[in-house]
């Protein structure tokens, strides 16, 4: 094993490097210059993101415990893009006085979780996968509790860490059963040895619920809304987009590569869970007034839509999941971006506060509207393409009933997304949010998201590229 082999770990290594750079600057910068870490982090991460796109050799190291393929590197790049946007969006929030001494923590913790996710995605062995998943979760709990002086932040932190501990416990218990029946923890060996027998199914279901927790699928979703609401906006957006996207990626990889043999079982599971998730997510989102909570439930429902790509086990399915994740990253980050700008400037987070927003802040309203339309799947924005292709993927395998339930659910979803649009454009308000100028970093973040929302849909080459890198069972 030569040193060159480590280049397959480029994403992880780069991130680690970036992590170290931030750590060192932390150490060597004076108190008054700490704010500059923000810009440094953004720049470094931009470089990491760009470098991630360079061609990469495929391969595996550590005795196939770590595998890098073009698919995984695509997934990592997508996560990088999302994280970059989150970094940009966090810029002004981190500038607050109370956050000043902990700016580097924020970046380091986020990068750590991203490293964890990258390991998760590249895992070839359940141990690597487990380490990745914990690395991606534990720092997030710390991040959720980032705002030390707010009750809600602390509550979000404890809810996240304890729920995730329970979920990883159950996941591990499931894994132990799978290990007991298959005798290995290597993906490739498990895949070969897995059989349709009760213990395996039980193990798989436990494993499944652990993953479902990560993706916040019903009924394992209950932490989601509380954590999103309590956590700082940017952490919530990271949780809802990057964390969920990564979970979806690794979940589809594991389903496709480790459990193809018991597809008959997990298809049914996913069918049930998808219906539950979409429906319950929508029903909860319907009533929400707090924007973060609202987006939390909407993201639960969105997670349900991801499952439509899982269910067929087909190449198109994986394509659409990755594609939709990309679209979803842009859309949801745009939404969270607007929420975060408004929360930052005015401290208001309720949907009622958005009444009449268009008349005072047209730019933000348009961005929010596009985001909502994209999430709802309205043309011509990317969400339409994403949803359409997801449905195509499910329909390809003949899951028409599921597709019908899902499309009918899009109507409920449309209803609550339109409520936001209604608040901004239609409702009148005695005391609307005052006109304000967003800082250039927020603008940049939103601009990237909006460009993504618009371009990703029409640019078929993106879809085709993803398709070429995807595989089915």
């Amino acid at each position: 094993m030569s040193l060159e082999n480590f280049t397959v770990m480029r994403h992880e290594l780069l991130l680690t490097l970036a992590f170290l750079v931030i750590l060192l600057t932390e150490v060597f910068t004076g108190e008054e210059k700490k704010e500059r870490v923000r810009i440094l982090a953004v720049i470094i991460f931009a470089i990491v993101t760009v470098v991630g796109f360079l061609p990469l050799p495929e391969g595996s190291i550590f005795g196939d415990m770590f595998r890098a393929t073009r698919t995984t590197s695509l997934m990592k790049n997508i996560l990088n893009i999302g994280t970059l946007i989150v970094f940009i969006q966090s810029y002004s929030w981190l500038g607050r006085a109370e956050n000043r001494d902990r700016i580097h923590e924020y970046f380091m913790l986020l990068m750590t979780t991203l490293i964890g996710m990258n390991f998760m995605i590249s895992a070839g062995h359940f141990l690597m996968f487990y380490i990745g998943i914990e690395l991606a979760t534990i720092p997030l709990a710390a991040l959720a509790a980032y705002e030390r002086f707010r009750n809600r932040s602390a509550e979000a932190g404890i809810k996240l860490i304890l729920s995730s501990a329970l979920s990883s416990g159950i996941l591990l218990f499931g894994l132990s059963m799978i290990y007991g029946t298959t005798g290995s923890l290597y993906f490739s060996e498990v895949a070969a040895a897995v059989r349709d027998m009760p213990l395996v199914i039980l193990g798989f279901i436990f494993f499944f619920s652990g993953m479902a927790f990560k993706m916040s699928l019903v009924p394992f979703h209950l932490w989601t809304a509380d954590v999103y609401e309590g956590a700082p906006v940017n952490v919530a957006s990271y949780l809802s987009v990057i964390s969920k996207g990564a979970a979806a990626f690794i979940f589809i990889i594991i389903l496709f590569t480790v459990f193809p043999i018991i597809i008959a079982t997990w298809e049914k599971t996913i069918w049930v869970i998808a219906v539950l998730t979409i429906t319950i997510g929508n029903l909860f989102a319907l009533r929400q007034k707090n924007m973060k909570r609202f987006l939390a439930f909407s993201s639960i429902a969105q997670a349900g839509f991801f499952l439509l790509g899982f269910i067929g086990g087909n190449q198109l399915g994986m394509t659409t999941v990755i594609y939709y994740a990309l679209v979803y990253i842009f859309s949801n980050l745009a939404a969270f971006g607007v929420v975060s700008v408004i929360a930052e400037k005015t401290g208001r987070e309720s949907m009622d506060d958005y009444d009449g927003l268009y008349r005072t802040n047209p730019g933000l309203s348009i961005a929010m509207m596009l985001a909502m339309f994209s999430l709802a799947g309205i043309p011509p924005v990317a969400g339409f393409f994403g949803k359409f292709f997801l449905f195509v993927a499910a329909a390809e395998k003949g899951y028409y009933v599921l597709v019908t339930i899902a499309v009918l659910n899009t109507i409920i979803a449309l209803y609550y997304y339109l409520l936001v649009v209604k608040a901004m454009f239609i409702n009148r308000n005695e005391a609307p949010i005052e006109p304000f100028k967003s800082d250039s970093m927020s603008k940049l973040g939103l601009a990237i998201c909006l460009a993504g929302i618009i371009v990703t849909g029409f640019a078929s080459s993106i879809f085709e590229m993803i398709r070429n890198l995807s595989y089915g069972i």
Binding site: L418, V421, F425
Partner: protein, 496 residues
């Protein structure tokens, strides 16, 4: 680039233009200019279509151009027209043009209004030129969604409720439609080969009958919601009554036609066997629509409600005719779409103009308006007469084609349905005359109305452009009907 694509590009350019004008007042000038050009382009398309046909081109679709889009799913941006779409394009551009002028006095958020309106129009144009189900669906939804904003912001009455209901019901329809499209797509290559969304390609194969049985209802009902198929029409009264003038015009005039157009261009053309099997269910529903809408209109007091129910009746007639599946009835359906599009747009324009003057839409609060606003009054009467199917105006031509086509079937069921549908012409007369009598005739009930002004130049322009269409079709229907008669043949041939 095909000239058809300009139909999508021009509105988009117009929108860009509106974005860049400083003065919101200029927005309407830019819109009017853009839509004027659109009207000219439509005229050129009609002309070149006729020229092509005269030159002996017998292809089902002409002016086809196609660009690859999503290669792996075989999705193309494919446009092309036949006589039906050409006619619909012409209708749309006239109605949009008239709509711009009908909203000349829009004062609140004017730029946004025109942008949304033209975006809606873009969707409609795109829908009519699309030959690829994916793009067609995309444009379909694109046309529906601006309605929410348009009604919500610039509407009146319970606008939020109406806008939400309308949007959700229409999108519900499109959700069903989407399932139907998937069914079509995945059965578009029953003998192996590449799946396709291309309508012409699919029409060449036969979708397995089992699949048709499943997906025909989805597709038909999906389009039917927009075509006000009973009992899924209830978005129409509320939506129309709350919408601002130009939106009602466009929506009732053009958007509802998407339903009828899609119903035969997609649902029936691609799944003819199932269409034949299930026609009876929908014939019953549409017959109910026709009579029910008319009866519903009789007792309404709000002008817009009357017209909305009337639209239910008339659009029911479109679907009714479509389901009769022969050349005459299909021709009638298309002419009815155009005729109804023109006259209902005219109605809504007039209602908007009257409302703008009297600030009420309740017929019993008005009266004798013919004296003070003769131009609008006369136009209203003509629209009414067109609506009740007076010869010499467009409605008659359409209805006769429909009745004769429907009656051509020798079976008793269809004939009885036809006779029931024919009865709507009497009921229509009742409510139209009732409105005219209460609204325009008699003595003036409120003395504030003595001082009303008659139509302004832009209102006249709007009205005259619609009236011209109604009268032209009514007086010399042969051109239009021959163009359409040729074009419905491929569809009818498949259905037989």
């Amino acid at each position: 680039m095909s000239i058809l694509t300009w139909l999508v590009i021009i509105p988009l350019l117009t929108i860009t233009g509106i974005l860049f004008v400083k003065d919101a007042r200029q927005a309407k000038i830019v819109s009017a200019f853009g839509m004027g050009i659109q009207l000219i382009v439509s005229a050129v398309i009609v002309y070149s279509y006729v020229a092509l046909r005269n030159a002996g081109v017998t292809d089902e679709m002409v002016m086809i151009s196609s660009y690859e889009w999503f290669r792996s799913l075989n999705i193309y941006y494919t446009v092309g027209v036949d006589g039906i779409s050409v006619a619909m394009i012409a209708l749309t551009s006239v109605v949009v043009f008239a709509g711009i002028f009908a909203s000349w006095e829009m004062d609140d958020l004017r730029k946004e209004f025109f942008i949304s309106l033209i975006l809606l129009a873009t969707g409609v144009f795109g829908f009519f030129i699309s030959l690829d189900l994916f793009t067609m669906f995309l444009f379909y939804e694109l046309a529906v969604i601006p309605m929410y904003i348009l009604i919500g912001i610039w509407g009146s009455g319970p606008k939020e409720y109406a806008a939400m209901k309308l949007t959700l019901m229409l999108m519900g329809g499109s959700a069903l439609l989407m399932v139907g499209l998937f069914g079509i797509y995945f059965n578009s290559a029953p003998d192996g080969g590449e799946l396709t969304f291309n309508i012409i390609e699919i029409s060449k194969i036969t979708i397995p009958i089992e699949a048709q049985r499943w997906f025909f209802p989805f597709t038909f009902v999906g389009f039917g919601v927009l075509g006000a198929l009973f009992p899924l029409h209830t978005w129409s009264p509320d939506g129309h009554s709350s919408a601002p003038t130009a939106v009602s015009m466009l929506h009732a005039g053009v958007l509802m036609k998407l339903g009828g157009y899609g119903a035969f261009r997609v649902a029936m053309f691609l799944m003819p066997e199932a269409a034949n099997e299930m026609a009876w269910i929908f014939i019953i529903l549409t017959t109910i629509s026709v009579v029910y809408g008319a009866f519903g209109a009789i007792v309404q007091k709000d002008l817009k409600y009357i017209n909305a129910y009337s639209s239910v009746s008339h659009c029911g007639m479109v679907l009714f005719a479509v389901l009769m599946m022969n050349r005459t009835a299909m021709t009638g359906a298309v002419i009815q779409m155009i005729s109804h599009g023109l006259m209902t747009a005219l109605f809504f324009a007039l209602i908007g103009m009257i409302y703008g003057r009297t600030h009420t839409r309740m017929i019993n609060e008005m009266g004798g308006l013919m004296k003070v606003i003769p131009f609008l009054g006369v136009a209203y009467v003509i629209a009414g007469l067109a609506s009740l199917g007076l010869p010499g105006l467009s409605g008659f031509v359409a209805e006769m084609n429909i009745f004769f086509g429907a009656f051509e079937h020798p079976d008793t069921f269809r004939r009885v349905a036809t006779i029931i549908a024919v009865s709507s012409i009497v009921i229509t007369a009742v409510y139209i005359l009732r409105v005219i009598a209460i609204l325009l005739l008699g003595s003036i009930r409120d003395h504030h109305f003595d001082l009303l002004d008659d139509a302004k130049w832009y209102e006249k322009l709007s009205i005259v452009s619609l009236l011209a269409g109604i009268i032209y079709i009514g007086m010399a229907p042969l051109h239009l009907s021959d163009i359409i008669r040729e074009s419905v043949m491929p569809i009818v041939d498949k259905l037989l």
